[in-house]
């Protein structure tokens, strides 16, 4: 489904601030794969997502999605088949527009079903209400309200629905529950799991929760210094503990994991 071939990106080349953010990253995901990504601060996790989503063009390498070479596609063209969520709940929705209007925009990704001059139809409204009711937040009764009135958790749940309203080929989740309180985070994560499973969406998820990294999905990737240093799945992953994961990381990366939030969360959990 997704094929990354030798992706490299250097920021500010030739200056004192030169930073090699990605170096020769290659990755293959099969259809329906759900891989979690953990890594140190500045390991290149978000940079990798930016490269896949087209926030910038890579210096070298190729990106193939479902057999199509999208390396030089602009971001808005890629977004037709790639859904994305950020940590910040404010990034995914337009606050002064209503829930219904936000959903109508997300629904534009379904190509060619309507003219640009058409308005939100009754059928659209029914579809939106039905999908909103699946979130279990009662938002289907508030479709005419501006999104700015919603809480962070509600906005993030809505963004999740918008990213998957038209089933994407690939879903990129960048610590999308990290800014929410624990109970809301659990709820949004549960929704994520059920929506991804229901539609068999190929998914990459950055997390700082080591337990989630091992339990969610079917593969775990670890990044460090712009490279993928560990990629485990199947039997091996099923038997792994958080400690095993940290040991393997230290061995492959040549140093211990230095993500403060990961270390805090492992201490809390143990």
């Amino acid at each position: 489904m997704l094929d990354l071939q030798y992706l490299s990106k250097t920021f500010n080349p030739g200056t004192v601030n030169e930073k090699k953010a990605l170096s020769d990253v290659s990755l293959h995901l099969d259809k329906g794969d759900f891989a979690t990504i953990v890594g140190s601060n500045g390991a290149g996790k978000s940079t990798l997502f930016n490269a896949i989503a087209g926030s910038f063009y890579t210096d070298s390498g190729r990106i193939l999605l479902d057999g199509q070479d999208i390396t030089f596609w602009p971001d808005y063209r890629r977004s037709k088949t790639i859904g994305r969520m950020f940590q910040d709940p404010l990034r995914g929705t337009a606050p002064s527009m209503t829930i219904e209007e936000n959903l109508a925009l997300a629904y534009l990704r379904a190509s060619g079903h309507t003219s640009p001059f058409s308005r939100i139809s009754k059928a659209d409204r029914e579809l939106f209400a039905q999908r909103l009711s699946q979130l279990g937040l009662g938002l289907e009764k508030r479709m005419k309200q501006p999104v700015g009135l919603l809480s962070g958790g509600q906005r993030q749940a809505l963004t999740l629905l918008m990213a998957t309203l038209v089933t994407p080929k690939l879903l990129l989740l960048d610590e999308h529950t990290a800014a929410l309180d624990p109970a809301t985070a659990d709820k949004v994560l549960a929704l994520t799991k059920s929506i991804v499973a229901e539609h068999g969406i190929t998914c990459l998820m950055i997390t700082h929760n080591m337990h989630d990294a091992l339990q969610l999905g079917n593969r775990t990737l670890m990044m460090d210094g712009g490279r993928i240093v560990l990629d485990v799945g199947g039997e091996e992953r099923a038997r792994m503990t958080v400690e095993d994961l940290l040991t393997r990381f230290a061995k492959n990366a040549g140093h211990t994991l230095d993500n403060d939030r990961i270390l805090l969360s492992t201490q809390e959990d143990s």
Binding site: P74, D75, Y76, R77, S79, K80, G83, R84, L90, R91, G92, T93, A94, P95, S96, M97, E101, N102, A104, L105, A106, L108, R109, S111, T114, S115, P116, F117, S118, R119, I120, M162, A163
Partner: protein
């Protein structure tokens, strides 16, 4: 306090200039861009419409003016979205260039008199009779139709994308829409409306002048903000009515100022002060709230020690 003629002319001008307020509603409020093309686009509309009317095509003058205005908006949008010129500078550049273009449209003369020329207003007079308020009916008709079409458009899928562009461009790109495209469409429509306003005004006052558009962006903003302050909370329809009402109220303020013998040279300064105060209002309000909070906190402290 006002004669019927003053009221009528304030209403007429209010509705004609309301198109500029609506244009700025689209560019300044919806797209979140301070579009400096406005002044030049207004004069461009005047020039095109006057030249067309003099050539015997007063009606054709209006769509031609809109087309010209849309082109001006396109240039600004192109500079901004494709060539990475900062948005305010892009407008100023286009505006500067338009000065020459406007002179050229008027045959390199700084004004076009059209005393005996047939205009849409003389046509309306012939149709409605000279005793009917034909000028007001024409101005209201044009403004209401254009505003209604704009609001209907803003609720279409393309319109929603334009609205979201000013609100959250990231989200628009994530919905597979190119923000360069939505900004371009938005600025073209806004400047077409500004030019239409100039086009109607030129035929209304039977002359076009190279300086008619000077300060138009501030006048439009003043109208828009007056309307928003008085009626602004609500859906898109309420906002459109507010912009039109603001423009009419602005004209009454000007009429009042003229009646109070304020010299007409001072009107631009008055407009500038109104806009500066209106835009600064939220900051002034929170500043005052902070000061009074600090002042009271000092008193509370003394009470505790006593």
């Amino acid at each position: 306090m006002f004669t019927v003629a003053t009221v009528l002319s304030a209403l007429e001008l209010g509705f004609i200039y309301a198109l500029v307020a609506m244009a700025l509603f689209l560019s300044f409020r919806v797209l979140n861009i301070a579009d400096m093309t406005t002044d030049g686009a207004f004069t461009l509309g005047c020039a095109v419409s006057a030249t067309a009317a003099v050539a015997g095509h007063p009606f054709l003058g209006l769509p031609l003016a809109m087309l010209a205005g849309a082109c001006a908006g396109f240039v600004t949008a192109f500079l901004q979205t494709r060539l990475a010129v900062p948005s305010i500078l892009a407008g100023i550049i286009t505006n500067t260039g338009l000065y020459t273009v406007n002179l050229a449209v008027m045959g390199f003369s700084s004004n076009v008199p059209m005393l005996k020329t047939k205009t849409i207003f003389t046509a309306a007079e012939a149709l409605l009779g000279e005793n009917a308020p034909y000028k007001l009916i024409t101005a209201v008709g044009i403004t209401v139709v254009v505003c209604a079409v704009l609001i209907l458009f803003l609720n279409t899928r393309l319109g929603l994308s334009i609205r979201a562009t000013g609100d959250n461009p990231d989200m628009v790109r994530a919905s597979s829409i190119n923000t360069a495209f939505t900004i371009t469409i938005g600025l073209c429509i806004a400047n077409a409306m500004t030019a239409l306003s100039g086009a109607v005004l030129a035929q209304y006052q039977k002359s076009a002048d190279i300086n008619l558009g000077t300060g138009m962006v501030v006048i439009g903003l003043a109208s828009l903000i007056i309307g928003e302050t008085l009626f602004g909370r609500g859906g898109m329809w309420v906002k459109a009515v507010a912009a039109v009402a603001g423009s009419v109220i602005y004209r009454f303020i000007i009429a009042l100022a003229l009646r109070a013998n304020v010299p007409s040279e001072c009107l631009k300064l008055i407009s500038a002060v109104i806009v500066a105060l209106a835009i600064a209002a939220p900051a002034l309000k929170s500043g005052m709230a902070f000061r009074s909070r600090r002042h009271n906190a000092g008193k509370e402290g003394r009470k505790d020690h006593a």
